[in-house]
């Protein structure tokens, strides 16, 4: 066996043959040049996106959420007789709300005076309560005042919180972006429906005189809010 018969350790003749055609090489050269262009602009785009996304993810996450407030009022004046119980219904419709506003809470004020004109006639006794209706609200919130009474003609203040977490005061929040921070404040449906107030009157008369009725005024204030968030 001569030295020429021994196969070399490595022989890349086939590989060099693959590259020995000018037309094919030019074509592949053009393809690779285009690949470099595509790689360059796609990588730069992804790098920019990466910077933007990381800025959002790792950036300042503390936000101040403040509320622009609006209110809508209903007023009703009724005359009740002694021992009478009456329910007043107030409908809050979604279409009553301004664009972007949600119902935060509903406040009811029941007021009355002694109107009989009789001498030494003491103030009547009025009881008011807010029964649970089909309205979506925070019916079990500890800060609600759903019932009250008065026997000295002072106003009865009732409060129903409707939107979760809303107190009317600005709050702090953490989140990736404004959208996520505002999400809890953009839930629709709370505070719309029927809000009812049930009133009961017990008159107080001076001896030998009869005070059988009373005029009672009910003011309903529907407090609405529109949230906005700013980075702190």
């Amino acid at each position: 066996m001569t030295g020429e018969d021994v196969a070399p350790e490595f022989d890349f003749t086939a590989f060099t043959e693959l590259l020995d055609d000018r037309t094919s090489n030019i074509t592949m050269g053009v393809v690779l040049a285009l690949v470099v262009v595509v790689l360059a602009y796609t990588t730069v785009d992804l790098a920019n996106l990466n910077e933007e996304v990381r800025g959002l993810v790792e950036g300042e996450n503390n936000w101040d959420v403040s509320f622009e407030l609006q209110s809508m009022t209903f007023q009703e004046t009724i005359v009740m007789t002694d021992g009478e119980q009456r329910q007043l219904d107030f409908d809050v419709d979604q279409s009553d709300l301004s664009e972007g506003f949600r119902v935060g809470h509903i406040r009811a004020t029941v007021s009355y005076g002694e109107t009989s004109g009789l001498p030494a006639d003491p103030a009547d006794s009025v009881a008011a309560n807010v029964p649970q209706t089909d309205m979506q609200a925070q019916w079990n919130d500890d800060n609600n005042t759903l019932s009250g009474s008065s026997n000295d003609a002072t106003d009865i203040e009732l409060l129903l919180r409707t939107h979760p977490g809303f107190t009317g005061q600005p709050v702090n929040a953490t989140g990736l972006n404004e959208y996520q921070v505002l999400q809890p404040w953009l839930v629709e449906g709370f505070g719309t429906g029927t809000f009812s107030v049930v009133l009961e009157l017990n008159t107080q008369s001076p001896p030998f005189l009869n005070d059988g009725d009373e005029e009672i005024m009910v003011n309903i204030e529907v407090v609405m809010f529109k949230p906005s968030a700013t980075l702190t």
Partner: protein, 445 residues
């Protein structure tokens, strides 16, 4: 609408095909040694892909609520969960992925023809595959997972080799009039589709940057900022699919205009159209893709899942194994001359066709409410067709084309076949063992 996963079907199909291919390659002692070795490479690629899909199936079955995406492995976005079994399964996927990558490169150096030769060539290939599959999984596990994108360089190199072979073949055929050169371009084109169709179908999204928009959602969920090299690796992977698609599409377009359509041209046109549609689907769901950091994470619509299953799923899980078998047989990588081998081949083809058609029918049934009686009848028709036409179907796979002559290479020592089989078996056990071990030790947590 829930869609059935095709991963278990692909796992079974690939594992059976891999086993049969390895058996056929090992016992064809009189067959061309270069072709035998290439068939072995193919067989082990099947086994690794099959094992990969099997683990995906196990994860889908055991952890149905877990979020498990392709990017987790391909782009290394995984973060250990602390669940030892889950982490071990994902570690295995990284090991198997490394094995698939190096086996694909080895295949590119051997098919359609041997790019190297010499006394040390095959040993160098075997040694290279062994060293890579031992070292790379450890590097990925201890290097922080995202380092896996470094493999994009190799994926791109493999794509570039086959693309160059395709260009060389198509230029020789259409410009120089060398009809025999078609075998090389056809082989390279089919191999490119078989291995890169998963990224090819996002070609327009790559060019129009929609893939980046999708990936920005992935970035948002990563614990730290990514380096420019990592991002370059991500893009290299997309371009590895874009480059061959554009080349093969233009080449086959011109060839179809000149000579008429072929299997390769039809397949590449279908893949191109899917990629075209995918871009507009990307646009349609772009708000959802970026929802995780712009708003809040939203689920993709059911229709998207259906489309993904019918395109990516069918292409990767059902069509690719068929393409592999077609290449194996068409290029005579396995000896089909003896009766014994031909019977095994028939079993292989029929099994493949039946598994694919029955899964396809089942999948259709999971997507649209077709009564079971109808699908059972359709399956019976398919079975009858396959049995009745078995001879003709096998003949179509094994037609006497000149493609087999294209595959040429060096002589290989007989003991190399056994060495390679033993090596890959050891590698498989090694990948499973170190995955369990390091997951149990909490590596990466």
């Amino acid at each position: 609408m829930a869609t059935e996963s095709l991963a278990p079907v692909a796992a079974i199909t690939d594992l059976i095909l891999g086993t049969l291919t390895i058996i056929l390659a090992n016992r064809a002692v009189n067959h061309d040694p270069h072709k035998r070795f290439t068939a072995l490479l193919f067989g082990w690629t099947f086994i690794f892909i099959g094992a990969y899909y099997m683990i995906i199936s196990v994860i889908e079955l055991q952890y149905p609520d877990g979020v498990f995406g392709w990017s987790l492995i391909q782009f290394g976005t995984f973060a250990p969960t602390g669940d030892g079994t889950f982490d071990a399964l994902v570690f295995m996927l990284y090991g198997l992925q490394a094995g698939i990558n190096i086996l694909t490169l080895a295949l590119a150096l051997h098919l359609p023809f041997d790019l190297g030769s010499g006394r040390g060539w095959t040993s160098a290939i075997i040694g290279g595959v062994g060293a890579y599959t031992v070292v790379m999984p450890i590097v990925v596990m201890f290097g922080g997972f995202s380092i896996t994108v470094i493999q994009s360089i190799m994926i791109f190199a493999t794509s570039a080799i086959w693309t160059m072979i395709y260009i060389r073949g198509i230029v020789a055929e259409l410009v120089n009039g060398d009809e025999e050169a078609r075998s090389a371009s056809k082989g390279a084109g089919l191999l490119l589709i078989a291995f890169y169709s998963g990224t090819m179908i996002w070609w327009l999204s790559t060019v129009m940057l929609a893939n980046n928009e999708w990936f920005s959602g992935v970035i948002a969920q990563m614990s730290e900022s990514s380096s420019i090299f990592y991002l370059l690796g991500v893009e290299t992977l997309w371009v590895s699919g874009l480059m061959p698609l554009m080349v093969v599409f233009l080449g086959e377009g011109y060839r179809t205009f000149k000579k008429g359509a072929s299997l390769l041209s039809v397949v590449i046109f279908v893949v191109t159209v899917i990629g075209f549609i995918n871009y507009f689907i990307d646009i349609a769901v772009s708000d959802i893709l970026v929802s995780c950091y712009e708003t809040e994470c939203q689920e993709l619509p059911a229709a998207f899942r259906v489309w993904e299953t019918l395109t990516t799923g069918v292409l990767s899980f059902l069509f690719v194994p068929m393409l592999f078998v077609y290449i194996l047989i068409q290029y005579r990588l396995i000896d089909t001359s003896s009766d014994e081998n031909r019977n095994l081949l028939r079993i292989m083809i029929l099994l493949l066709l039946l598994i694919v058609s029955s899964s396809f029918i089942e999948m259709i049934q999971s997507l649209i409410p077709v009564p079971q009686m109808v699908t059972a009848s359709l399956l019976a028709i398919a079975v009858a067709f396959f049995i009745g036409w078995e001879e003709r179907i096998t003949g179509w796979f094994v037609d006497e084309s000149a493609d087999g002559e294209t595959v040429s290479g060096d002589l290989i020592l007989a003991q190399s076949f056994n060495k390679f089989t033993v090596l890959m078996s050891v590698v498989l056990v090694y990948v499973i063992s170190i995955s369990w071990l390091f997951a149990a030790m909490g590596v990466g947590a």
